[in-house]
């Protein structure tokens, strides 16, 4: 029997649940290799997303409260989507600091274990790798991503208002993680530039302008690919590279995919991840000898 290093509740979020298999599958593999056991929250609901707080400030708190009412006590919650994470943080902040709000939702939903820690997936990876480094534990069968020149793209996922700002994580945790994986991290101008989120669906021309700037900037800084933690950013970048007919587009990876390759998964054995990409990353993987 496997002994788990960490037991956690898992909140997939709507994006990971109904699409993005190319990020979901490697994530499950990576977590089992890191000996983290995730249990999906029973009957979870949407976090409210961007539209929730855009239309009514109570929606993210109410949706978060219902999610809190579903989680088992004593296990942290792991959230793969940065936007869900921010909405969960908003709900947690309000429920922790406003007793009357908490009372209101406890009356409607039952107990709310709001003190439960919530973890962003890349914070979890960063912590695991940091612990491994401190204790000089090597990962079995690890394959460094040598020669892969990567631009780390956070989008807005590292931006928080003052009350929600996490104070225990460095601002460049993904860059540090990519260096630990052996990749070459380029310095470039747009790691935090917005991908245009929902505006992309309404005004594609604005999204095309943003994405051309982002991907062009990464290429100019010498990157061969981008890596992101957010499935929404990944989809927006790929879609708008396509619709703007950009010349020489860079492929954009999910962080989970590069983690899986580092931890010994053969890229060639996972055609089902790469077939979902609108910009084919396979030639690049072959070029840097990470294909098999």
């Amino acid at each position: 029997m496997t002994e788990y290093l960490m037991e956690a509740s898992y909140f997939p979020g709507c994006t990971m649940k109904t699409g993005v298999d190319e990020s979901n599958k490697p994530m499950q593999l990576v977590l089992s290799k890191l000996r983290v056991n995730l249990e999906e929250i029973n009957d979870w609901n949407c976090c409210g997303s961007s539209s929730g707080h855009a239309m009514n400030h109570e929606i993210p708190v109410a949706m978060g409260a219902r999610n809190f009412s579903r989680i088992p006590v004593g296990k942290p919650v792991v959230i793969p989507c940065p936007n869900c994470y921010r909405n969960w943080s908003t709900a947690k902040h309000h429920l922790e600091t406003e007793p009357e709000t908490k009372k209101k939702y406890e009356d409607a939903l039952g107990r709310l274990p709001v003190e439960t820690p919530i973890l962003n997936i890349y914070d979890l990876y960063y912590q695991v790798f940091n612990t491994a480094k401190e204790k000089s534990i090597a990962f079995e069968g690890a394959k460094p991503l040598a020669g892969l020149k990567v631009a780390v793209y956070y989008g807005c996922s590292a931006m928080y208002p003052k009350d929600l700002r996490p104070n225990d994580q460095p601002r460049d945790s993904v860059e540090r993680l990519m260096k630990d994986l052996g990749a070459e991290v380029v310095v470039w101008p747009w790691p935090h530039k917005c991908c245009s989120a929902f505006v992309s669906a309404v005004y594609p021309e604005i999204a095309e302008e943003f994405i051309t700037q982002i991907v062009g900037g990464a290429a100019q800084a010498g990157a061969e690919c981008l890596v992101t933690t957010c499935a929404m950013c990944q989809m927006n970048v790929e879609m708008r590279i396509k619709s703007s007919n950009m010349a020489n587009p860079l492929p954009i990876f999910h962080l989970n995919q590069l983690m899986a390759i580092y931890l010994g998964e053969k890229a060639s054995a996972h055609q089902d991840w790469w077939k979902f990409h609108l910009v084919d990353p396979v030639p690049l993987l072959k070029k840097v000898n990470l294909w098999d």
Binding site: C14, T15, K17, T18, G19, V20, D21, D43, W44, N45, C46, G48, S49, S50, S51, G52, H53, A54, M55, N56, H57, E58, I59, A62, M63, R66, R86, A108, L109, G155, C156, A158, M159, Y160, P161, K162, D163, R165, H192, K193, C194, S196, A197, F198, V199, A201, V202, Y203, P204, E205, I206, F210, M235, M239, K242, S243, K275, F276
Partner: protein
Amino acid sequence: MNREVKKFSSQEPINMSASDLGFAKQVGKVAGTDLNSCLTCMSCSGGCPMYPYMDYGPHGIMRLAVLGLKKEALTSTTIWRCVGCHTCAAVCPMAINIAGVMDYLREECLAEKLPVGDVPLMQFHRAFLTSVRFHGRASKVELMGLHKLFTLGGGPKTWMQDAVLGVKMILMRKLHLLPSRVSGVGRGQIKKFVTGPWRSR
């Protein structure tokens, strides 16, 4: 969409006759932030990715709110074109939750039944929340369908926008056609939470 000329570059004097000086306090209370600490340093507008497409920009909205020019702030395109990326809040030297202010102003605009600065974007939010009301979770495919339905007046250009790419993504199963749903009891609870004046717009 075209870039907007900023309204505050006009030579007209500011008309303060309809000013509501309690407005800044009211906004600050709900958004959990103190608007009067704003320095008007424009850091927020400097960081805002949507600034070229806004009529005032975030710093302009902060100024309008502090001056109590409620109607100008609530009918601006700025509050609707804000994507909520929180870059403004992250760069603000006075740590004002500017994106939170935008959220509250949109809500107030709908509650007071004022004209919406950017209808297609408002309809996107409405389509999203309608989908969440149905299932308890969002379905991207349904959301795009509803948005097309809510913006039928936009003409053939909006009907066809991204249709080919969307169908391609459904066919390659990058987007699942069927939504994932919350249980019946949960959907009942969520219907009570996800509501507001946006439903009748």
